[in-house]
Symmetry: C2
Subunit: 381 residues, 2 copies
């Protein structure tokens, strides 16, 4: 399975004095802590023993029912019975991997792609095919070519505010991707953890409604409520959903009942709609501060596209940049950390001149100072 490169990197990151742009997690300031006493009391009062008892593997019905309304706001029509709860999105990805991947199977992924997904897939020994991307994410023609050439078991995508690039696939391309999935009878995994974190521009429909028989939609409460509760969910074609539930039974029986009840109270209390603007108010100025600092402090040879949402900015240095070597200098001598972009590619050696910068975990002044130090590190190497 191999150790996670990010995991190793984060060991350096926790060194005292380090300012980290390497994070991949939400700010605790984005959690609705002011509601938690009320929500936990509601769980005890309304759900009582049920919140502490074994539950069904499919998930806690009050949460599944609440998610019907949430998905409706995304343009996804569903029923509670079709929504299955998992232990974070990671739980969905593990379930998919467990039921579908045999050693040697091909999975098509974006170049670059989300590392955590590969960690879920890798124990089942797949191989990867990379789909080319541009500023608008996945290039449909490349996806179709990869499908025709390597007949992947599935295509894994993070279409909105992707991790690591922050890029969002526009509506027209989403429809094309759905058409390709249908035409080639290919399964698409649509992982959507960041969709609600939009700071600019208009909502774009998920791919799922355009090809519901060919897409597994993966959602999570981690970025809009609390990651520590480990509550994710998915919508999958019926047969796959059934097998994923059977697989999950052997993995953890079910997701924490208390976590599910708490998420249900959060949704049913109408708190989500009131809370998301607060998250945006926290993160949007941080994104702006990061990008402004990059404009001020990074050499002209560095380029990036400011994302409309999410948690990351992706930067490309000059072609001869070795961002792993720069990382060593930046962390050792300038106390600033990021994630070298090469780690996000399924194909080793790709993207050596790229880096992922996170803006959710530090305030504006810290971001400005961190990017300033990064600029210094770049100029000395």
């Amino acid at each position: 399975m191999g150790a996670s490169a990010i995991r190793e990197i984060l060991k350096v990151v926790s060194r005292p004095g380090m300012v980290s742009l390497a994070g991949g997690i939400p700010s605790p300031q984005a959690f609705p802590m002011e509601l938690m006493a009320e929500l936990t009391a509601s769980v005890l009062e309304r759900h009582g023993e049920t919140a502490f008892q074994y539950g069904t593997t499919e998930g806690y019905m009050p949460l599944r029912e609440a998610l019907v309304g949430y998905l409706h706001t995304l343009g996804i029509e569903s029923t509670a019975e079709k929504i299955n709860i998992t232990s974070g999105s990671q739980g969905t990805l593990d379930g998919i991997a467990k039921i579908l991947i045999s050693p040697g199977d091909v999975i098509a992924v974006e170049a670059p792609t989300y590392l955590g997904a590969l960690q879920s897939f890798n124990p089942y020994e797949p191989t990867y095919a990379q789909i080319e991307t541009d500023a608008d994410g996945v290039i449909p023609e490349s996806m179709e070519e990869v499908i025709r050439k390597s007949r992947p078991k599935m295509v894994y995508l993070v279409p909105t505010f992707q991790n690591p690039t922050g890029r969002t696939i526009p509506l027209e391309r989403r429809k094309q991707i759905a058409q390709i999935a249908i035409r080639t009878n290919t399964l698409v995994i649509e992982d959507d953890p960041y969709g609600q974190l939009r700071y600019e521009g208009e909502f774009i429909s998920p791919i799922y409604p355009f090809a519901p028989d060919h897409v597994i939609y993966c959602g999570t409460m981690s970025k809009v409520f609390s990651p520590g509760l480990r509550v994710g969910f998915n919508l999958a074609p019926a047969l796959l959903a059934e097998w994923m539930v059977k697989a999950k039974q052997g993995v953890d029986l079910h997701t924490s009942s208390f976590s599910q009840a708490l998420a249900a109270e959060f949704l049913n209390g109408g708190h989500l709609a009131r809370h998301i603007p607060k998250i945006i108010d926290l993160y949007k100025p941080r994104l702006n501060a990061l990008v402004q600092a990059m404009e001020e402090s990074l050499p002209d040879t560095y380029t990036w596209i400011k994302p409309d949402g999410g948690m990351f900015v992706w930067a490309e240095g000059p072609e001869d940049l070795d961002a792993v070597a720069l990382y060593a200098v930046a962390t050792q001598h300038y106390n600033v950390a990021y994630v070298p972009g090469t780690y996000f590619y399924a194909k080793p050696g790709s993207g050596k001149n790229t880096m992922r910068l996170n803006f959710t975990m530090a305030d504006e002044a810290t971001l400005k100072s961190a990017v300033g130090k990064l600029g210094e590190a770049i100029r000395t190497t």
Copy 2:
């Protein structure tokens, strides 16, 4: 992976009017509900945002530290760093399966054994070798013979108040099992969910202390605190522990932080020692009532050994009994359910004349009435 037989059976069990001896779960009356408001408030006050944030895959340190003291009461000396948290015991079993089982590998199990363990193992396509048991559980000579003949990847045991038989392996046999594990360099999985539920007799040491380099000890908060929180833990040889953590990263990143913080508060508040006697006061009369009703209502051709603890009584009918056929009659015409024992054998067709009766989910009067009906069902077939 196959559907769970118990799962299918439980569909009938939930029919209105059914009295079920088929359950495998704790009574909600055994949860310390009177403490939950205090404990959740403590989590918010003392752990705050940490209880809602991502955590390390190994587990939440305050819980791991609290478990050092708990394990000490079992005669297991450990450090917090050696204890890893999983999403229920099931999470430990899945981790073991994921890192160790290749298709065709042999796993040695008790005959009969815990079905949920097989559900964790089955997706990885092992084969099973059955170890013979008697009234004292696993027969060491049979275990050694199975090891020599089939070189199993591991031996899976529930040594105390086993599910489904309720049997407990005596101390002397435990030492023999440890010696065999060491001598043959075989890994033993010691699953211990029921050890604290002792209604008679003296505490018996787990196998782990006798062969710590050859045993993975699996514990859980499910039977002594709350199963719905999905908090389990394990102690494993260092290399296996390391790989299990890596595997878990891809499965769910980590177990619910809130659940872990709640379990830590329960242990650190000294509640466990006060709460276990309450569970015993609830279950012990139920066990007594069940066994007394069996003596009164079941034919002389039925035999059983009253267990000293746990949640189950195992009954054997006459040799020609088909307990699956009887199940159909009992549920359809007498509204009483149990689990046919044959489902607990790795080797299909074994134990056709056996049944598992649960006593935690019904009060004494209900248990008496249910066994009376079961007796009627038996006499009509």
